[in-house]
């Protein structure tokens, strides 16, 4: 097998209509994977991602799902398996961020972030495990954030979710290792996406001072790290969080 190839693998990427998720879906497809593109609201954008995959000669499907809802996740995984034949690679990327000072954050807001950013990956992984066990292989990659390790004003709920996510990755890596299912995370820094546009607009110079590589990251740079972890090139790596942040967390 060619190094880094994902030929013959089926992948499911959540939150893949845009940004980092879209870049990951395209990167996996470019290396041979059939990819299910999951989205919550942006159907047209998800279909564009799927069309992009097909333009690369890959197989794809766009599937609506709210990852915080059990029934949606069950349907998403079932449809991926039915149409693409398996879930060999699962990328839990879907997330929401709410920037609000803790004293102003309501319980409902806190829960809504934790539901999508922490319970969502758990539900997706739980649903995918039986299919990975059946294939005797699997690679799960959760998209965390530099915020899990480095404090940031107004992001308590997001940080709690991502910190929990990294802890869950370590626990599941141990739990599933015996069955040749690897579980890892990537922790992006400030990546040039719609999600960080306002942040970059307001304090670009200030943030850049703290990034040793002196620039913001591109979604494709996160996608390449995910593709590495998904492939057999990372066959001896599990339970790790790979920072993709230009040195910001160092």
């Amino acid at each position: 097998m060619t190094s880094g190839t994902l030929e013959g693998r089926a992948a499911l990427v959540t939150g893949a209509s845009r940004g980092i998720g879209r870049a990951i879906a395209l990167e996996l497809a470019r290396h041979g994977a059939a990819v299910a593109v999951s989205y919550r609201e942006r159907r047209e954008a998800a279909e564009e991602t799927a069309a992009g995959i097909e333009a690369l000669g890959g197989r794809s499907l766009a599937c609506q799902a709210d990852v915080s809802r059990e029934e949606d996740v069950a349907r998403l995984v079932e449809r991926t398996v039915r149409e693409l034949g398996a879930v060999d690679v699962l990328v839990c990327n879907a997330a929401v961020v709410l920037s609000r000072l803790a004293p102003l954050q309501t319980v409902e807001e806190w829960r809504s972030v934790l539901d999508v950013d922490l319970m969502g990956p758990f539900l997706c992984i739980r649903e995918a495990i039986p299919h990975m066990l059946a294939r005797r292989r699997g690679s799960i990659i959760c998209v965390s954030s530099i915020v899990a390790q480095r404090g940031s004003t107004g992001l308590a709920s997001y940080a709690a979710a991502k910190g929990g996510l990294e802890a869950m990755v370590r626990a599941l890596a141990v739990e599933l290792a015996k069955k040749r299912i690897r579980v890892n995370a990537v922790a992006p820094g400030v990546i040039q996406t719609e999600m960080t546009a306002e942040l970059r607009h307001l304090s670009s110079e200030e943030i850049l001072k703290h990034i040793p590589l002196g620039r913001f990251g591109e979604p494709e740079e996160v996608a390449r790290a995910v593709r590495f972890l998904a492939s057999d090139d990372a066959s001896y790596i599990t339970g790790e969080t790979l920072g993709v942040h230009g040195g910001l967390g160092s």
């Binding site: 039986p130 066990l133 059946a134 739990e175 599933l176 015996k178 069955k179």
Partner: protein
């Protein structure tokens, strides 16, 4: 007052499963071998999966998933005593982590594949996994297939048409109106 656990009467008669016990045993042994990365010829059906074949908790789940796919049934997720306590109330079968006399009697009644000397007083509920063998799974699958056969013998509740088993999902479907009838969870079917 003790929880109301029923007398240990035999289960009601159910139609025989369409698959023979020999065939089920062959497939269970193959699944055990696959789950534990063993040569099927080394899997003795009455060997303790945990003590003699090295099975861990995830292996049991892996095995259950495999058998569910193979036979399109839904295996229980709880052990026998947990199911009984869930259904009839806690306390009379397990106390302070130990299986009570009544619990031992229930195990002997419902797990005939277990050698009687293994059901000794003082058995802890955390040790129940050690009693499980490939034969345990054979019995459970046979019971679930018999229950499924019983459901297949009944007419569709919606239109009275005949039901047929799905080859790809743990459910039945009406051949006349197409209504889907999901199989109940194994924890609901088996005591």
């Amino acid at each position: 007052m003790e929880p109301d656990v029923p007398d240990l009467a035999p289960e009601p008669a159910v139609p025989p499963a369409a698959v023979s016990e020999t065939e089920v045993r062959r497939k269970v042994v193959a699944a055990v071998a696959q789950a534990l990365d063993l040569d099927p010829s080394t899997v003795v059906p009455d060997a303790s999966l945990e003590e003699e074949l090295g099975a861990e908790s995830l292996d049991f789940l892996d095995l259950a998933f495999m058998l569910e796919r193979e036979f399109q049934v839904r295996l229980p997720r709880l052990n026998l005593l947990q199911r009984a306590e869930e259904r009839y109330g806690a306390g009379s079968l397990i106390q302070d982590g130990q299986v009570t006399e009544r619990g031992l009697a229930l195990l002997a009644e419902r797990m005939p594949e277990v050698a009687p000397e293994r059901l000794r007083p003082g058995l802890r509920v955390s040790e129940l996994g050690r009693l499980v063998t490939a034969e345990t799974f054979v019995r459970v699958v046979m019971e679930l297939l018999a229950h499924k056969a019983g459901m297949l013998a009944s007419p569709c509740a919606a239109c009275g048409g005949p039901l047929a088993a799905s080859a790809v999902a743990p459910e039945l479907a009406c051949s006349a109106c197409g209504a889907a009838v999901p199989l109940p969870a194994g924890d609901e079917v088996l005591l």
